[in-house]
């Protein structure tokens, strides 16, 4: 059953079948004992440790790399710069993004460095301490070049980060340009400028890879990753090896959040080293490296414009994005396209136009970070809607209710070309308002303002809509002769508990106990194909593939039995792991033993889904110091059918904490020379136990109409809904006329500074 938790049990407004059971997690049996196995826990004999010499300069021309002293140090196996390698592999382009053509990201820097932290040389030694000593003995000669740190500046700069190529690596447009008459004739037009700051993923386990060369010139790769088959394909392409010579195994992963779905230069350098030396080699990133990046998340400059009539009906919405993709356009160049497609949020807006530029700069390259373009979209439109409400003098909840896409208008195609599937957006807002006691807080706010007592109080709403899943996924179910079932998935758990929830899916179809089902994923030698886990896609796509595979297995068993009994298949029925016809009856285990393997493979590609919800935050801002206290945070989410409520709610809590981190604390900072200032967890502040307020979760359930399983995406919503709810609440508390006057993170200083005009104006 769903977990009992003091005062905030789930409420299921529309309950789908089979959504409630929640066996406890199988993964925990090893993890609570310290018996989990992360990449750094593998202790192969005779393994060399890798440390990288990285660029201390954000943009520069490389001279010679002097590795002589480092090579002479006792215990050092090798030190190489790009000049020492016969060929320097480059990271392959991802997801068909052409931006990397002519801007390839090399395993080790060649000629130029483009961000602080870019690998320049690789050091190998049996002992990590020795490798670090040798790293410090490598001398670099880098002549600094002008540094570009802001995407808008970089787009307009004459400094070319890649010679002969524009700094704008991708330029895209969604929807049709809006007729100037719309802006001219509208009763109200509001504008905003919003900054999505750069974030660090900060999975507690940083990146790690271990590579063992094999006798057939192949490689076995253990990597902390989200997409093992993608990594295999990329390594094969970069190294010029056939895919089948590379086996990728992903052991336990200590969090990923989008940052472990790529193929980084370091991985290529480690592979080159393992092959050249014929030795097992590992690289375990340290925290300073992880915070310096890559990857970073977010990083957008946004301009918004919204027109409405006098009754608050939104007529047009325009979003312009300059996205920071860092020193090399990689998977981060995909993220703003996600923002663009879902720009219009949950609203029926007749005209939507988005212009997006992905711009190279001298920050570390960006990647998807939990939410991956969705929080950026939600924050832009939700801040703009609140600005519109202020301008109209209308309650922001009422303005939203007026403009939501109505349930009977679904499915709905936006002017940017994304089809929303199902849901009830007004109901989500109404439930959130009831849960938080919206009217009560508004009354208290009015009273505080009237009497001039108490800290400024604000209420902020974010009605988000996301875009979950993409592409196909592989799922397979086999009935084994010993009475168990083997499920294979192309997904890759990084803490989401697939070992528990995927067997639940299969068991529910087969009508057997989940304990009989064993899941294997994240090993390319066993799982023939797959995509991985990101974009909230595991259950929506991978779970749906397993759901279908289990169904196909039942059909296969019926067919096999019909054949061996020589009866029409219609006479064979399946029930709870057995097939029968008349008096004849056989278990799938015996059937497989008698007639050969029973296994169904499925590749399933459902359309993207549109989970949605409403978050409401109530905050106080301490007037003298600017400190924000989140008094209440209510999250209403509709993830479609939920398979394991305990796991999904756990992810909601975690995702919300990360959203609060973006809203209030987190920011990767660079000095003017492009040197990162946030190099430890003393400088880069993720929320601790003391900062995360109690959160109230409420759930709705509108099944995904495009899969039999009915699950939509889960896991990213908190990052999407929480930031805009908090920032809207703070703007409301401070009663700011210019919403652009305050940007995330809402540090005490940022709030105090934004508060100054209000203080002066109020004469307080």
């Amino acid at each position: 059953m769903a977990q009992r938790a003091g005062g905030d049990d789930s409420e299921f407004t529309r309950r789908a079948a089979d959504g409630g059971s929640a066996p406890s997690r199988r993964e925990d049996a090893r993890l609570v004992r310290g018996a989990g196995c992360f990449v750094a826990d593998l202790l192969p004999e005779d393994c060399l440790e890798v440390v990288f010499v990285s660029s201390p300069v954000a943009h520069g021309e490389m001279g010679a790399v002097d590795v002589d002293d480092a090579r002479r140090m006792p215990g050092v196996a090798a030190v190489w710069s790009a000049a020492d390698l016969p060929a320097v592999p480059q990271t392959p382009p991802m997801l068909g993004i052409t931006a990397s053509a002519g801007r390839a990201w090399p395993a080790l820097a060649v000629d130029r460095v483009r961000y602080v932290g870019q690998p320049v040389a690789i050091v190998l030694a049996a002992d990590r301490y020795v490798a670090e000593d040798a790293r410090d003995a490598v001398r670099l000669d880098i002549s600094p070049l002008p540094v570009l740190l802001d995407p808008t500046d970089a787009a307009g700069s004459e400094v070319e980060l890649f010679l002969g190529m524009p700094n704008v690596a991708v330029e895209k447009e969604y929807g049709d340009p809006i007729d100037p008459a719309v802006w001219r004739d509208a009763a109200v037009v509001v504008e905003g400028n919003y900054r999505q700051q750069l974030l660090a993923h900060t999975s507690m386990e940083a990146r790690a890879i271990l590579i063992r060369p094999e006798d057939d010139d192949g490689l076995t790769v253990w990597c902390s990753h989200q997409a093992p088959h993608r990594l295999r394909g990329d390594l094969a392409a970069a190294l010029g090896l056939p895919e089948e010579r590379i086996r990728v195994v992903v052991p336990d992963v200590g969090g990923a959040f989008g940052g472990k779905s790529e193929t980084y230069p370091e991985y290529l350098a480690v592979a080159v080293a393992a092959r050249r030396l014929g030795r097992t080699v590992r690289w375990v990133e340290d925290r300073a490296e992880a915070l310096t990046g890559p990857p970073h998340g977010r990083g957008q400059n946004q301009r918004t414009r919204m027109a409405a009539d006098a009754d608050g009906r939104i007529l047009a919405y325009e979003l312009t994005i300059d996205a920071d993709v860092g020193g090399y356009p990689h998977l981060g160049a995909f993220v703003p396209l996600n923002t663009s497609v879902m720009a219009a949020g949950a609203y029926q807006i007749p005209r939507v136009h988005v212009q997006t530029r992905c711009v190279v700069t001298n920050t570390a390259p960006t990647s998807p970070y939990r939410g991956a373009g969705r929080p950026e979209a939600a924050t832009a439109i939700e801040r703009t809607v609140d600005t519109l409400a202020r301008r109209l003098g209308m309650d922001p909840a009422k303005l939203r209710q007026r403009n939501f896409i109505r349930p009977d208008a679904l499915p709905y195609r936006t002017p940017t070309g994304f089809q929303y599937d199902s849901g009830d957006y007004p109901a989500a807002l109404a439930l959130a308002m009831r849960t938080v006691d919206y009217d009560g807080w508004r009354a208290q706010q009015a009273q505080r303002r009237r009497t001039g007592t108490g800290a400024p109080l604000g209420i902020g709403i974010c009605s988000y809509l996301e875009r979950s899943g993409n592409a196909w996924e592989f799922g397979s179910v086999e009935a084994c002769p010993d009475g168990t079932y083997l499920a294979l998935s192309g997904c890759c758990s990084t803490g989401q508990g697939h070992e528990t929830s995927f067997p639940q899916v299969v068991a529910s179809v087969l009508g057997v106990e989940p304990e009989l089902i064993r899941l294997v994923e994240a090993d390319t030698a066993i799982v023939p194909r797959g995509i991985g886990s990101y974009s909230s896609r595991s259950m929506q796509t991978g779970g749906a593939a397993l759901h279908r595979a289990a169904g196909a297995l039942m059909e296969q068993a019926r067919g096999r039995a019909a054949e061996s009994w020589a009866v029409p298949i219609e006479e064979v029925t399946y029930r709870a792991g057995t097939v029968s016809a008349g008096q004849r009856r056989v278990s799938l285990a015996d059937l497989a033993a008698a007639t050969g393997p029973l296994r169904a493979d499925e590749v399933f590609e459902p359309p993207q889904a549109a989970p949605y919800g409403t978050y409401i935050a109530v905050v106080e801002v301490e007037p003298e110091l600017g400190t924000v206290s989140v008094l209440r945070l209510v999250a209403v989410d509709d993830y479609g059918v939920v398979i394991n409520h305990v796991i999904v709610r756990g992810q909601s809590y975690g995702s919300i904490a990360q959203g609060l981190g973006q809203a209030l604390y987190e920011q990767v900072r660079y000095d003017p020379d492009g040197v990162p200032e946030t190099r430890s967890l003393l400088d880069y502040l993720i929320p601790t136990l003391s900062e995360v307020p109690p959160v109230t979760l409420r759930e709705m359930c509108t099944p995904n109409p495009n899969t039999a399983l009915g699950a939509k995406g889960a896991g990213e919503a908190g990052c999407i809904g929480a930031p805009a709810a908090v920032i809207n609440a703070v703007v409301d508390a401070l009663d700011l006329d210019d919403p652009s006057a305050i940007q995330m993170p809402l540090t005490p200083f940022a709030c105090w500074q934004a508060r100054q005009p209000a203080l002066a104006g109020a004469g307080r």
Partner: protein
């Protein structure tokens, strides 16, 4: 090199170590106690928390030589392998207080230490007591619940008390080759 004697999870280990070797690296790389993980190197995240003579320390911020003659309890020593879980481990499982599990060894050891000092902490005391341990997955809500549950279970005598410092007398001795 300096000779140190450690009792780790009830077993004595005598090793020669470099003075600069951190306790966590010694535990992991030399003794093979990889259940204790490294999260940050700067004592901010607490993933490497162990008990040193019964008191929680961040083992990335202790030199191995500083632990000479002392007893270390790691997550691997909290319950017998395959045996019953410690109440804190059980509560973390039952309350879904872990997801990826990377911070979990340190979070559990810090909780054991907290409950040894304060057997019945309030919400605020738990949050303050564990704020030196970072988790990026759970949002902490279920961790607070788990610590409450563990406190109740331990008060009921439902499980072992926090692990005692292993006796120094005659543990199995293992020499580790340098």
């Amino acid at each position: 090199m300096t000779r140190i004697k450690l009792n780790v999870d009830g077993v004595r280990y005598d090793d020669d170590v470099e003075p600069r070797t951190l306790l966590v690296q010694h535990l992991r790389d030399r003794i093979g106690k990889v259940g204790t993980v490294v999260g940050c190197d700067t004592s901010n995240c607490g993933a490497c928390t162990v008990l040193l003579d019964g008191v929680s320390v961040k083992s990335c911020s202790v030199l191995a030589v500083q632990a000479d003659g002392k007893a270390v309890t790691t997550i691997e020593g909290l319950a017998e392998p395959g045996g019953a879980l410690h109440p804190v481990q059980r509560a973390f499982h039952e309350r879904h207080a872990l997801q990826c599990g990377y911070c979990t060894p340190g979070m559990i050891m810090a909780s054991v230490s907290l409950l040894a000092d304060n057997p019945d902490p309030t919400d605020a005391e738990i949050r303050e007591g564990l704020e030196g341990n970072l988790c990026r997955c759970t949002g902490y809500q279920n961790i607070v619940r788990a610590v409450h549950d563990a406190a109740a279970a331990m008060a009921d005598g439902g499980g072992a008390a926090p692990p005692q410092v292993p006796a120094q007398a005659a543990p199995e001795q293992r020499e580790v080759a340098v």
